[in-house]
Amino acid sequence: MSQTLDCDVVIVGAGISGALLAWKLGSAGVKVIVLESGPGPLALANRQSYVNNFKVTGAPYPINPQAPKEEDFFTNTSNYYVEAPTTRPEQGPVSTNPNDRFGQYNIINGQVGSGDWFQSNYERQSGGSTWHWLGTSLRLLPNDFQLQTMYNPVYGTLHAYDWPITYNNLESWYGLAEQTIGVSGPDTGESYLGITRSSNYPMPGIPQSYLDQQFTAALQGQQFNDLWVNKNFPMLVSPTPQARNSAPGYGGRPQCQGSTSCIPICPVQAKYDATQHIAMASQMSNVQFLTQSVACQVLVDTTNPALPITGIQYKTWDGASHTVTGKIYILAAHAVENAKLLLLSPCGTITVANQSDQVGRNLADHPVSLVYAQTDNPLYGYRGPLSTSGVESLRDGSFRTYRGAFRMEIGNDGWSWPTNDPYTTPQTLMTNEGLYGQALANAVAYNLVRQTRIGCLAEQLPNPDFRVTISSQVDGLGIPRPMLSYGIDPYGQYSLSAAVAASIQIFKRMIAKPVIQYNYTCWSTGDLVIDQTRSDPGSEQNANIFVREGWAGAGHLMGTHRMGSDPGTSVVDGTQKAHGHPNLYLVGSGNWPSYATGNPTLTITALALWAADTIQKQLTSM
């Protein structure tokens, strides 16, 4: 049976942005209704069942046909994204076989291969993707907000796009964000590359791992020579600020127990996730969470020249349609779902908030190069939080005129990301070397304590052809699924290429006789030659440094409704209000007009808190 509900503010999505907005606005007495597509509320019992799922198959979270999602971890596969046939003329022929995943997808320079598709997913349940984020809480750099002005990168028709706000505008909100989600930060703070701070971290830093200490020693005095500008840049290992507890009790959470499973699930909730603020907001009588409620259309009054939003139509899992109305509407469903919902919502001859035709465009990620090695000395991975340090000193520099920057994440998780170890090595040693018995045990033990990886997050330029559109295929409730086009532009490819070179340089400091195995078949577009000339391509046998083919997704979905001061080229303004509608806000990393290299969640948090403040002021003036 359908019904209509009314409140002050309607929020679509109970992920980190939606949870924080509900909590902040609810605390101010605002009447809030949150629509969440997935199940909830989710309590301790759910967490334990998810942890058990992880132990059994590696995949904690169930798949729901009414709120489907893209591929889950390991065995829980689900193809939710429809992959767009390529439309760009410079790309090669497109397979007409509907079952050919790679052939149908975006193809770069005519080459088809693994990795040429959008590899990041998101969770559709209360708490959203914070269930399986790493907890890395970096600020963006001042220059990240002004990439176009500072460096003017140009590749064909592609160029950067400045944010309408600056680091200084956001600085106090960053401080509040660190307090709100509970970030443990290094005692020295972050002081590299122009970052300034007006507040301290609420908790002391998480200790760097033994492995990090060996990286720090190996990188003593090391410089990375960038070939684009022929200039040296320091390679410095920095402790990573993380939203996990170094002190017991902050945010009601326990100390980190080093379970080494931050992704896909922290078993003790020492790491922040949005269920924390959902629980607090749920205590308020003026805040209501409607779960299993899938938004399917934003309603607009086109008879009013101001084009106010008048409601959100949604379907419950039983298939019934309902409407919720309010004074202000906030879409907080993440980059893909926000874009999908807007594109499903007619507004005269166009769709809601789309006078710029930018809704869904400029889809981006931080494509990750994975370089992994077996070092001479044991580093004892598979212990501690998945990452406790990174190399942040290469996130900015004059090279950004020519290639994207990158940040290097040092993994404490052995080869679990690139090869699904420690489960793979025993099989490999039996198959390739015929080992068994004590010889096998010795070899497994020797290898596992030396397995280490670096993941580099690369910077892309906004590309209007990488985009979310609407498919004719539908989900379990009959709602159209998103169709995605994606790839890596040259700016991003050159970033990945430099990142591979820098990673190899580091591992060469830890291996006396390095032998490198490359797997570049899917994107051998010429640029990599630059870096191969200073490496030592080796054979597969006896290799001890491995470059994984293609790239991995970082889970950082960005850019489908970018912010800007020009309504002709952007979707929201600097306050995150949609151009062309008086009462519609979009939040999350879909607002990012450029992507930099910092993991997005802290910036998403800061922007959500800022939006809550703005919306509260607007409400009092209505």
């Binding site: 200790p207 033994y210 406790t388």
Partner: protein, 134 residues
Amino acid sequence: MISIADFISFSNFVLGIPLPQVSELDPNLAQVYLTNLGQGGVDLTNLLATWHGIAQQPPAQWPALFDSQIKGNPTLWGVAQQVVLAWYTGVCGNTPREAAYYEQTLVWVLAQAHPMGVPLGFGYWQYPPPGANQ
């Protein structure tokens, strides 16, 4: 005829028990893996029958007999690897590992680590594992 005694005897040999890290196998866990391997589509009949014959010979001859009769037979060597993987990873053929026995899989012991997803305590990761021996 599959017997738990043959399965434990074979497991001890193919895993190299006693290892410095593992002095003996848990017989209850052996029963779990034996059952799960069967359910996971791994037929142990021929492997354990062959092993039963080898085990009648003096232990000094076991490596050579294993190499010729089991490793030399691609089918039996494949099944033998499934037995090793059960103990190392908990995965038994097509049967996923059981949460209750997850912590006892050998890879974590050999890595001088702890099973992912199992809380251990704050800050231990700053130091090498206790008694690190590699």
